[in-house]
């Protein structure tokens, strides 16, 4: 039996960011992870630090996302210094292109609602028309009517981020336990025991960050995490010279030069297969935005599963039944890495979530509470 100060279940971007934050705060931490067969959104994501569309009708989510985007530069710099790994962060703001006037008007209404809901917190955005865009983005397609812009958006190399968080965690004395499947878990207030094949670890704190696995794990700790898989597909082109000065939501060019094309949403359970119709639509939207993309070769394509709560908003919670147990669930492990490492982890280290996290509680799914 091995004793830790905190156990983090899940070694993807969410678990690794929280684990990294906890060891930085001086805790002895174990990150428990599955093997390479895990459904791992951390290895299939788009790599955006994306703020502008987050939290329509839920301003607390917009604030949390903004907080994360603000923490990102410090996290990226710290990881670079401590691990020597560049996570390739660029935050020049972002544009979301709209095809046709109808899309543009919907977008305008959405951005205006975001601004209204932000209240005194503020939400800076601009709508760009076609002619303004053409000055920034060469080779713009005839169907592009305009775009929304906010200064908060960016992108990064999410694989390097995962690598850097793990390396930083290990270098600060964190214990990484991969290839483990939780066989049994015992919860008591401030006393948690997790058993694997022939191995037991204990700690007064536990954080469930197992992505889609949280749905089954959470009830063992008096928590609720009703997340389901939502499939997204991505196409990647060959590398080209640098063309765009900023990320474009469902299109972005990586620092290495590939252009990533997204995005899609499908409810197909735990199926990471690809569908030609979806791939075609992704490619069609891309070439309608930029006809020259049709000249490029697609060199890779894949699907991955988002970790999706019923209302699309993250779930952060602490157990009332078993104090010391926490859960973190979201589909934006890249965007929210700054918040997870620099805000959520310190709350866990301190022993309680900040009141600002209350709207993220899974209590919102409780029918009697909502009635």
């Amino acid at each position: 039996m091995t004793q830790f100060d905190a156990i983090v279940i899940g070694g993807g971007l969410v678990g690794a960011a929280i684990g990294y934050g906890l060891v930085r705060d001086g805790l002895r931490v174990a990150i428990v992870d599955e093997g390479d067969i895990a459904f791992r959104a951390s290895r299939g994501n788009f790599g955006l630090v994306w703020v502008q569309s987050k939290g329509l009708g839920a301003p607390h989510y917009q604030r949390w996302t903004r907080l994360s985007a603000e923490e990102w530069p410090a996290l990226a710099a710290e990881l670079g210094e401590r691990t020597g790994i560049s996570v390739g962060l660029e935050q020049p703001g972002g544009l979301q292109l709209c095809l046709g006037e109808e899309e543009l008007e919907k977008r305008r209404a959405m951005m205006e609602q975001m601004r209204r809901e932000a209240g005194n917190f503020g939400f800076e955005y601009r709508m760009l028309d076609r002619s303004e865009l053409a000055g920034i983005l060469p080779g713009l397609g005839a169907s592009v009517a305009g775009a929304s812009w906010t200064p908060y958006d960016g992108h990064a190399n999410s694989l390097n981020l995962l690598h850097a968080l793990h390396k930083g965690f290990g270098e600060r004395g964190g214990t990484y336990l991969p290839g483990r499947t939780v066989i049994e878990a015992h919860a008591a207030p401030h006393d948690f025991r997790v058993e694997f094949a022939g191995e037991t670890i204990v700690a007064p704190k536990i954080v469930l960050a197992a992505g889609l696995g949280n749905a089954k794990l959470a009830p063992l700790f008096g928590l609720l995490a009703p997340v389901r898989p939502q499939r997204g597909q991505i196409l990647v082109t060959e590398r080209t010279n640098r063309i765009w000065p900023l990320p474009l939501g469902s299109l972005r060019q990586t620092q290495e030069g590939t252009i990533m094309l997204g995005s899609s949403e499908e409810d197909v359970g735990f199926d990471t297969g690809q569908k030609p119709e979806i791939m075609r639509n992704i490619a069609r939207r891309a070439v309608l935005c930029f006809p020259w993309i049709a000249e490029l070769q697609i060199v890779r394509a894949w699907a991955a599963l988002r970790v999706m709560p019923p209302d699309g908003l993250p779930i952060y919670d602490e157990s009332e039944e078993f104090p010391g147990a926490f859960t973190a669930n979201c589909h934006s492990g890249v965007t929210l890495a700054g918040a997870h490492a620099n805000a959520f982890a310190p709350m866990v280290a301190a022993g309680a979530l900040d009141p600002m996290m209350m709207p993220f509680s899974a209590k919102r799914f409780d029918v009697s509470a909502a009635a």
Binding site: K54, L56, E103, E238, R239, G262, P291
Partner: protein, 118 residues
């Protein structure tokens, strides 16, 4: 460094590899022509600029990327050498000039964007 096997058919297909004329047997790949040309490398990588030459010869490693008949980033090991083919060195990422590509996209309905965005 590389020589054709003694039992290989006669080298009858003439191609150009980075300015040199090379003859390869019918059915040989463009990458084989690169190796027979004796070049130490055929491209520089886009990220670090290090030199690369054909390696796996079976379509897996992408080291043999070359500009073939004016089209960049082609996997030369997966492409049969044809008479008159021009296989050219590639430096870094391919260049594309967005302003210089004509809009030849056939018209099709605009696919719906990803909904939500939460």
């Amino acid at each position: 460094m590389f020589r054709p096997r003694p039992d290989a058919p006669a080298a009858t297909v003439e191609v150009e590899v980075d300015g040199r004329t090379v003859r390869v047997p019918e059915g040989a790949s463009a990458a084989a022509a690169v190796l027979l040309a004796g070049l130490a490398s055929l491209r520089d990588t886009p990220v670090t600029g290090s030199a690369r030459a054909p390696y796996c010869m079976m379509g897996v490693c992408f080291e043999c990327l070359a500009e073939i008949d004016g089209v960049p980033n082609r996997q030369s090991c997966m492409i049969a050498a044809l008479p008159g083919m021009r296989i050219r060195r590639q430096r870094g990422a391919r260049d594309i000039d967005p302003e210089d590509v004509p809009d030849t996209i056939p018209s099709f309905p605009i696919p719906a964007p990803r909904s939500g965005g939460a």
